[in-house]
């Protein structure tokens, strides 16, 4: 028999808020988290625009040994995971005794790697790097750090799938719990923010250069967009079997009912209608619902002409023209490896509080976005079921469907 899979905790360390309460306020107000990071210009970037979070002070929470192997992805993920575990009423003592896994999305550690390489270049001696760098440098840095801090004893793998990493982490965790292989899993996505991390992406000319209007720079689906705005932070989503959540007596935030995935198998960076269409359809089929059951779509839309256009076509083809759609990237920028997890968390906050966060800066549709129902302003709405899309370089696609929990 298959398990039902529910969500019992979310945590956010985002450019629109440190923690759920601040994020909820920003989502309601349509508040942008984008800034001008002037050091990017000096470094050689074309665009200085980015979402920004501070490096958190972890000294009050963690020992030196626990902190020393952490750079931004792990630091940010610790903050969001701490909040999510608290909401799910899971502490280290319980986790050490009750098998719990971690599947965390992350796809770079550029800042940490470059810091390490600079040390060797400077000192010409690897013995002087120190013991923490290796654990900062590896792409599984979030998993290594969080699994040891929280004494996790279940599945322990990092998920690297470009800008769909966070979404696939939830999807893969969902499948393991559904099949009865795990009781609960810490899922999520982390994205570093530093000049080293996004330089090569900036080099593609894909970022907005609307430096004089930072809050208006990220404008998914709008005809006047000029590119995406990179961002970062971390988001954690705790998922577990319905039986486990009910037995523990914790509040259930939603139930995952569908996970669609696909690969385009074509261009390395260009999106593709067919891949997205198949991912959306697979999620719907797996959920066993028809298109009219979806009350809200949190779009992947990053504020690029081709990407937004393909997604608008796919949404229109699979779900029709009436379903409300917004891209929270209009406020957060593109949180990349984190985005799939954060956008599930943002949507859960909307579902819990009966509103749709605005797709800010949507002023004029283009030919594709005119065919779907993009919500430009805060809207009260009872959401029973939402779909969250995430697509990434290399043509990886993920669609998650989550609904309100009814026993």
């Amino acid at each position: 028999m298959e398990n039902r899979v529910v969500i019992t905790g979310i945590g956010l360390y985002s450019c629109i808020g440190n923690g759920k309460d601040e994020v909820l306020d920003s989502l309601r107000k349509g508040k942008s988290g984008i800034i001008n990071d002037v050091q990017r210009k000096e470094f050689g970037y074309r665009s200085c625009l980015t979402g920004m979070v501070k490096d958190p002070d972890l000294k009050p929470f963690l020992s030196r040994r626990e902190r020393i192997g952490m750079h931004q992805p792990a630091m940010f993920a610790f903050m969001s995971t701490k909040e999510a575990l608290e909401q799910a009423k899971l502490d280290v003592e319980f986790l050490a005794k009750n098998e719990t896994g971690i599947i965390y999305g992350n796809d770079s550690t550029a800042g940490a790697v470059i810091n390490t390489v600079d040390k060797v270049r400077d000192r010409k001696d690897t013995a002087l790097i120190g013991s923490g760098d290796i654990f900062q440098n590896m792409n599984c840095t979030v998993n290594m750090n969080l699994s040891t801090i929280y004494k996790l004893k279940g599945i322990n793998i990092s998920l690297s799938a470009a800008c769909a990493s966070g979404s696939h982490s939830i999807g893969m965790g969902y499948l393991l719990i559904k099949q009865g292989l795990q009781e609960r899993i810490v899922c999520g996505g982390a994205q570093e923010i530093n000049v080293f991390a996004m330089a090569s992406f900036d080099g593609l000319g894909a970022f907005s250069v609307r430096h004089d209007q930072v809050a208006k720079a990220s404008r998914p689906f709008d005809a006047g967009r000029d590119g995406l705005v990179p961002s970062g932070g971390a988001a954690t989503v705790i998922i577990e079997s319905m039986e486990s959540a009910l037995k523990r007596g914790v509040p259930i935030l939603g139930e995952i009912i569908g996970y669609g995935f696909s690969s385009n198998g074509e261009h390395i960076s260009n999106p593709n209608f067919d891949g997205q269409y198949r991912s959306l359809n697979m999620a719907l089929q797996q959920a066993g619902i028809n298109d009219s059951a979806v009350d809200y779509v949190n779009a992947h839309a990053t504020s690029t002409i081709v990407g937004d256009g393909m997604e608008a076509q796919a949404i229109n083809s699979v779900l029709g023209s009436k379903v409300p759609v917004s891209s929270t990237k209009s406020m957060t920028g593109h949180e990349c490896w984190m985005a799939g997890a954060s956008e599930v968390a943002y949507s859960l906050l909307m579902m819990e509080n009966d509103f749709i966060a605005p797709n800010i800066n949507f002023e004029n549709p283009d030919e594709d976005s005119a065919k779907i129902n993009v919500i430009p302003e805060y809207q009260e709405k009872n959401i029973n079921c939402f779909l969250s899309n995430s697509f990434g370089f290399g043509g990886t696609n993920s669609s998650l469907i989550i609904k309100k929990f009814v026993k």
């Binding site: 020992s63 030196r64 040994r65 002087l128 790097i129 120190g130 013991s131």
Partner: protein, 83 residues
């Protein structure tokens, strides 16, 4: 650097690096236990010694160190060799 300078200097960087109160660093205290060093921490001990005193102790050097007194003796000897 005389003995007193060595004690003051090493107390400062060891307490800072390993987050131990300076008052716990006493001549007869056990270095490994006081600083709570595991095998990885010895890598960092080498780094802070090199950064602050300009020499790089070997694994062999650490084998003979039990107390901070032993450590001060090693530092004194190494500094004298490089002087």
């Amino acid at each position: 650097m005389n003995r007193e300078d060595i004690i003051i200097t090493t107390k400062r960087f060891l307490s800072e690096e390993f987050e131990v109160d300076e008052s716990k660093i006493l001549p007869n205290s056990n270095l490994q236990k006081t600083l709570d060093l595991d095998s990885l921490d010895y890598v960092d001990l080498v780094v802070v010694i090199e950064e602050n005193l300009g020499f790089k102790p070997t694994a062999e050097n650490f084998k003979s160190i039990e107390t901070f007194e032993d450590f001060y003796n090693l530092v004194e000897k190494k500094l004298a060799e490089t002087a």
